[in-house]
Structures are given as C-alpha cells and as structure tokens.
C-alpha cells in the first residue's frame, strides 16, 4: 500500500505516492532522481545522505519520507542552481577538498548550514559542525581549509554588496 505525500524539495512541490517504510533518502534518489544525495551507511553515522530540513542538516537515511511532509527540503542540487557553483563548492574544488567525492554533498550542506548560522566560524567550530560527516579520502585538513576560505569569501562579498 502507498500513501500520498506532498514533498517540497529545492522550491518545487512534488505530489507522490510512497510506501511508508521508505526513507527520505530513498525517495529523493529513486523517485525524484536527485542522486546528489548519497547513500552510505544508512545508520546515521556517515553523513553522505545529509540534506537540509527547514535549513537544518539531518541524515536523510533516518527520516521517513512521510515524516518530511510540510517541511522545506534542500539538497545539494539547489546550491548550484542556475549553473554557478556556490562559493563553498568552488572552494572545495580549488583546495583539493574533494577526492572520490562521495562525502562531498553532505560535507558542503553541513558547512552551508553552519555558515548560515555563523558566517565567521573558527576552525574548531567548523570541525565540530562536521563531526557527523565522514571522509575516507582527504584527511579533513583541506575540507576545513575550504570551509574557512569560503566563509571569508562569502563574508567579504557580503560587505562588498552593502
């Protein structure tokens, strides 16, 4: 049996029919073809499946799709809407903070949520914000550098535009 679900993702409204035991992760990938959200551990430990729910990062493998009704979901696809990379994405590319790329969408969304709340984080704050996002390739140092560099760029762009 399927249940009706109205899902708001990246500003679009989708009317779907889903099985109740499907996670938000599965529905994003399999029903909406938003495959930027990655499927890793399915236990809330790795962060590959991170999406924003009303701006807050969560592991989408642990949320039932039906539970997402009424909330605004943001996936990695929204960050480069219009074809331009977000400053965080550019910083990751430029600083070599991406190797295989599996953790990257989750890393970037967690970092994005941090910068929304705290535009000039310290290194320690960046590390704490990314505790739930594991990377098996980079050793994290370049990721932290990229987030700090993007924060600086975004903050100075902000000042410039005022």
């Amino acid at each position: 049996m399927k249940y009706p679900l109205t899902l708001k993702v990246n500003g679009e409204t989708y009317r779907l029919e889903v099985k109740p035991h499907r996670s938000l992760l599965e529905v994003l990938r399999d029903e909406l073809d938003l495959t930027g959200t990655n499927d890793g551990c399915r236990t809330g430990n790795c962060g590959a499946c991170t999406v924003l729910v009303d701006g807050a990062p969560i592991p989408s493998c642990l949320m039932l799709a039906l539970d997402a009704e009424g909330h605004e979901i943001t996936t990695i696809e929204a960050l480069s809407a219009g074809g331009e990379l977000h400053p965080l994405q550019r910083a990751f590319v430029q600083r070599g903070a991406i190797q295989c790329g599996y953790c990257t969408p989750g890393m970037i969304l967690s970092a994005y949520a941090l910068l929304q709340e705290n535009p000039r984080p310290t290194e320690a704050e960046v590390r704490r914000a990314l505790v739930g996002n594991l990377c098996r390739c980079t050793g994290y140092v370049k990721i932290i550098e990229a987030v700090l560099a993007a924060a600086e760029e975004m903050a100075s762009a902000d000042v410039g535009s005022r």
Binding site: M1, Y3, K19, P20, H21, R22, S23, R42, T43, G44, N45, G47, T50, V53, A56, P57, I58, P59, C61, L62, M63, L64, L66, D67, E69, S110, A113, R128, A129, V131, G132, N133
Partner: protein, 291 residues
C-alpha cells in the same frame, strides 16, 4: 525496512487510541534515530508507526510557575543545546546535549526518545536524574508522574505501559549555588556511545566550602542509570578535601555493575567510573577546566 502502517495524529488522545487499538507492534515515532535504524535492521518489527511530531505542545521548553521548567518530550537535542533558557537555568543539560551524536543526529533526536529507548548508555538520563527530574506520562487512563529515577526498569524497559506516552520532563526550580557536570568517556572526540557516563551535581554552602547536597548518577555501567547515595553521603556536610573526593570515587566504582561488551570490558568500565567521578569532583570544586 518492512512495510508498516503509518499514522500522523494531530492530538495526543488520537495517538494514544491508535497505540491501544493496534497493540504490541505499534510504536510511537519521535526523531527516529533509534527506531528507524532498529526497524531497518530487523531489531524491531513495527507493524504500525504513530508519528508524534504533528501533536502540538510536545516540543516546547516552557518555564513553570514554581520556577521550574517543562521540557517537552519531543524537544530535540539541538534545541536543548541552543536554548538560552536551558543554558541559564540548567547548563548541565545544554552541556550534555552537545556531547551527544553529531549536529545531524542532534537535529533529529529528541530527549523523550533518548529516555524511552532506555539504552543503559543514554546520555540524557544521568544528568536529568541528578537534577531531580520527573517524567510526565499520559495514557488511556490519564496523566501520571514518576520520578525519572524510577522510570528505567532495564535495557529497553521503562515504566511506560503499552499505550502510554512520555509527554514531558518536569524539572524542579534550579537550586542556588549549584554546579553540575556530565563526563562521558568515549574512545574518540565525538559520535560514540558512552563507555561510562558520570553526572555529578553539588550544591555548595554560602562560603562555597562545603556541599549541602550532592548527587552522583552513573550511566552505561548497570542495566539502568545508577544513583550512588553511598558516594553522595561522603561529600555532604564536610569540607570537600581530596581524601573525601577519592573516597566518593571509590564508592561509585564499587557500586557500578558493568558488563563486558564490544566497547569495553567490565573491569575497565569500573576503573573509569572511579576516574571520571574524581575528575568531575575536582572540576566542580576547583573550577578547573573539564577533562
């Protein structure tokens, strides 16, 4: 995961009726960080899921007339960590929430889910018990209140009978000159289940020389959170000398009833109860940085 029926009732009454009607096999859903994982790996086979998140009034942090606080069962760990009211009145709880999971987990996980899941390692239990919290339980026969100390019956077992929900935690008014700390021993910096958790709360006299009251509650070293009155009593009414602090730590270690598992041996857990209790007391007495 296997198929289950799903309901998202808008009132508490409706939720309770659904749970009663569907009997065993019907589970309330809060943040889902424990429940969804268990259902996915077959540790639980829910036939019916009743989502509590659409019920208004379960996720407030509300000051009460007596100066205490009502903490809704669906308040997330992230909200506890960030709440100004919490930070001001019960900094111990805000501090504990920050030691749990990751940002991602804290945004979903609720305090009520942590308690109802009743893992011996649940981090919220020791500090809440130390603070004298009460569980507010609502079921088919109305509301009842139970001291949180009596809420846990064993791993995964609580005071809740089928059809009953934990709706809130009631905290008594914060007491003056009281400081608390929760030390959680894990093998890495974050994102791990407590090998040992120790909550210590001291109420000092006017001169800050003597404790008028003391609470020591241990996590992850018994089937349920464990309060240690015989360690508390050494600390009350006399100067908090190093000797007394060590004696309290020894008694706490002796009271622990740990088991061997994949995280730790029982022997190591007991040793660490002593170490953490000593460190917690040093920290509270000397204002030294937490270790």
């Amino acid at each position: 995961m296997r198929f289950f029926e799903y309901y998202a009732p808008k009132t508490l009454d409706e939720a309770i009726q659904l749970l009663v009607r569907h009997g065993e096999g019907a589970y309330p859903l809060a943040g889902g960080t424990d429940l969804v994982t268990k259902a996915r790996y077959g540790h639980l086979r829910p036939r019916v899921i009743v989502n509590l998140k659409r019920i208004p009034g379960l996720n407030d942090i509300a000051p009460e007339e007596d100066g205490g606080l009502r903490l809704g069962a669906l308040v997330t760990l992230a909200e506890i960590a960030r709440s100004l009211l919490m930070g001001e009145r019960y900094p111990l709880l805000a501090q504990t929430a920050r030691k749990m999971g990751s940002v991602l987990i804290r945004n979903l996980a609720t305090v009520g889910g942590n308690l109802c899941n009743a893992a011996p390692s649940a981090d919220m239990a020791p500090p809440l018990i130390a603070l004298g919290a009460e569980a507010v339980i609502v079921g088919p026969r109305g509301e009842r209140r139970v001291r949180l100390e009596k809420f846990f019956h064993g791993p995964g077992q609580t005071e809740l009978r089928h059809g009953e929900l934990l709706t809130a935690i009631r905290l008594p008014p914060p007491r003056p000159r009281t400081r608390g700390v929760y030390l959680k021993h894990i093998y890495r910096q974050a994102m791990d289940i407590a090998i040992v958790g120790v909550a210590v709360l001291l109420q000092f006299d006017e001169q800050e020389a003597i404790a008028e009251d003391a609470r020591i509650v241990l996590g992850a070293v018994a089937p349920t959170p464990l309060r240690v009155p015989e360690a508390e009593s050494v600390l009350i009414g006399a100067p908090l000398t190093e000797d007394r602090r060590l004696e309290a730590a020894r008694r706490a270690a002796r009271a622990a009833r740990p088991i061997d598992d994949t995280y730790s041996s029982a022997w190591y857990r007991r040793e660490m109860v002593g170490v953490l209790t000593r460190r917690a007391l040093e920290h509270l007495v000397s204002h030294s940085p937490e270790r």
